[in-house]
């Protein structure tokens, strides 16, 4: 219920902004990924986080394709997980291979 309210609030806010300023705010979330067809998106979130870091290592964080991975994992992952994983990456104890 609370989640739904939050979404609804964001939706109203975006529309208001668009009506007022005519700004081009585009609302989007992670697209459907055939590798993760089920409701549980944990590994989708994980895969995009790992892909972002692999991408950044190769092309740099600011590269457009890396930004895509970041957008997807930011949409999918709970913030706590991302914070935790970022700490682990920094400490060199992240369990994924980057």
């Amino acid at each position: 219920m609370r989640l739904w309210l939050a979404h609804y609030w964001l939706y109203i806010k975006a529309h208001k902004e668009m009506e007022e300023g005519g700004s081009q705010l585009v609302l989007q979330t992670a697209p459907f990924d055939a590798r993760f067809p089920y409701t549980n998106q944990t590994k989708n979130c994980w895969q995009n986080f790992v892909d972002f870091h692999r991408c950044s290592k190769k092309l740099g964080e600011e590269h457009e394709s890396c930004k895509y991975f970041k957008r997807v994992y930011t949409s999918l992952c709970p913030k706590g997980w991302v914070d935790n994983w970022n700490d682990q990456v920094e400490a060199g104890t992240f369990p994924g291979r980057i």
């Binding site: 682990q88 060199g92 104890t93 369990p95």
Partner: protein, 120 residues
Amino acid sequence: MAARIVNRLNWMSRRFYAAAVDSSKMTLAEKEAAESKHAESTMKTWKNVSIFVAVPAILICAYNAWVKEKEHHTHPRPEFLEYAHLRIRNKAFPWGDGNHSLFHNPHANALPEGYEDEDH
């Protein structure tokens, strides 16, 4: 189901021992003697398997394990990394100081704080 399995086992052993001779015209003593004789030949088979298959197999595997372990001990142990999923201590072990696992090996097993000794 269980009844069928037990019956089957009994049937198998009966068939097994009676297979060599026609048992219908024998007395109980004769049957027992025949069974005993058959069991003796089966015993010899398994004795031979034990001596000529099992013993060499164990020796070969023992030699193989010896070589592999010797080779393995020349490698340095992996560096200690504080992974969150390793060395979990949600609750103290009920023995000792509560921080060492039951088969703790100071050389191979790190504590949450790291290895206890230097690698050698």
